[in-house]
Symmetry: C2
Subunit: 191 residues, 2 copies
C-alpha cells in the first residue's frame, strides 16, 4: 500500500521518497506491538538505513511520530478505495476491521505524541474528517445494496468500533465483541 507519487520525479527525489517510506513502514511495524517503545536507533535498524539518513528525514522523534500518524490516516483512506470484496457490505465490514486495526495501533502513537504536544495539534484535527470522507462512499453503497442497516451514520458506526477498541482485555477476549459489533451493522428484523 504505497502512497501515490506524482509521475516524473527525478531519481534522487524518488530515492528520498523511498527512504521516507521505508522509515515510516519500519516505524509502523515497530509501534505495532502495544508494549513496544522503539528508539530512533531501533527504527533505523528495522528500516535498514543509517541514523544519519533517519535524522535527515525526521529531525526528531516528534516529527517522525507526526508523520507516522498522518501516514496511518493516509493508508486507511487509501484502503477505502482499494479494498475488494464479494459485495458492498463485505467491503464495508473489511474496511471497518481495517479502521479498528488503525485505531488500536494509532492509539500508542497518539498517546506518545500527546506527551510532546497538545490535542490542538492540527495533525490530530485533520484525521476524522478525512476518514469520514473516505468511508462515506463505502457506507452509501452498502446501505443502497440493503446489506448494512440504514439507521446509523458513519460517525455513529465509527464511534461503536472505537468504543469496542477501548475495551480492556486480550485479543481473544475482545475479538468476539468486535465480531458482534460488526454483525450489528447488518439489517435486522428489529431495525
Amino acid at each position: 500500500m504505497s502512497i501515490a507519487k506524482p509521475s516524473g520525479i527525478p531519481a534522487k527525489r524518488a530515492d528520498a521518497e523511498r527512504n521516507r517510506e521505508k522509515i515510516l513502514a519500519a516505524a509502523r511495524a515497530a509501534f505495532a506491538d502495544p508494549d513496544a517503545d522503539p528508539s530512533m536507533a531501533e527504527i533505523a535498524r528495522r528500516a535498514g538505513i543509517g541514523s544519519a539518513t533517519l535524522y535527515r528525514n525526521f529531525a526528531n522523534r516528534r516529527s517522525l511520530l507526526e508523520a507516522l500518524y498522518t501516514y496511518e490516516v493516509d493508508a486507511l483512506c487509501e484502503a477505502a478505495t482499494t479494498i475488494t470484496g464479494d459485495s458492498p457490505g463485505a467491503i464495508l465490514i473489511t474496511w471497518m476491521r481495517r479502521f479498528y486495526a488503525y485505531y488500536t495501533s494509532k492509539r500508542h502513537v497518539a498517546a506518545e505524541l500527546l506527551e510532546h504536544t497538545s490535542a490542538d495539534n492540527p495533525v490530530f484535527g485533520g484525521g476524522l474528517p478525512r476518514v469520514l470522507a473516505a468511508g462515506q462512499p463505502l457506507l452509501l453503497a452498502a446501505q443502497s445494496a440493503g446489506e448494512i442497516r440504514s439507521d446509523l451514520t458513519l460517525k455513529q458506526i465509527l464511534d461503536l468500533i472505537v468504543s469496542v477498541a477501548k475495551i480492556q482485555g486480550s485479543t481473544e477476549y475482545v475479538e468476539p465483541i468486535l465480531r458482534a459489533a460488526l454483525d450489528a451493522l447488518r439489517p435486522t428484523d428489529q431495525a
Copy 2:
C-alpha cells in the same frame, strides 16, 4: 421495586426503613439528571422529610452516596428476577437496557464518590460479581432458546454495553448505537 424486608419488623423499625427507602428513591431521582448536583437539603425536600431525619439516616453526603450506589446495584439485580417479556431473549434485552440505564446514571454517583474515597472502596468492588450472578440465568435461558448468540459471555456483553454507554453525545445520537449493539446479541448467519 422495594427492597425485600424480613417479616415481623416492629412498626418503628418499619417506619425507619420507609424513610430510608424514600430518601434513596429521592436521591436516585435527583441524580438522574446528568447535570444535577443535588444538595442534601434538596434531597430531603424531594423525599418530603426534614433535614434531621435525613441526617439521622445518613450522617453525611458520602454515606448517602455509598448507600445509593448499593441501592442501584440491588435494584438492577432484583430486576433480573422480576422483568417479564415474550421470550427469554426479550427478557435479556430488556434487562440489558436496564443495565445501560443503571450504568449511565451510576456513573455520576460513582464519579462523585471517587472524589471522596478511592476505587479500592469495597462498595465498588462488590458490584460486578453481583450483577454477573444476577444476569447469568437470563443469558443461559436466552442462549438455550437460541435467541442470543452463544459466542459471548455475560462479561463480554456487559463490556459492550458499557463501552456504548461511554460514547459522547446526546441520547438521540447514542440510542441508535445502543439499539445496534443490542441487535448484535441476536444470533446471525455469520456468527
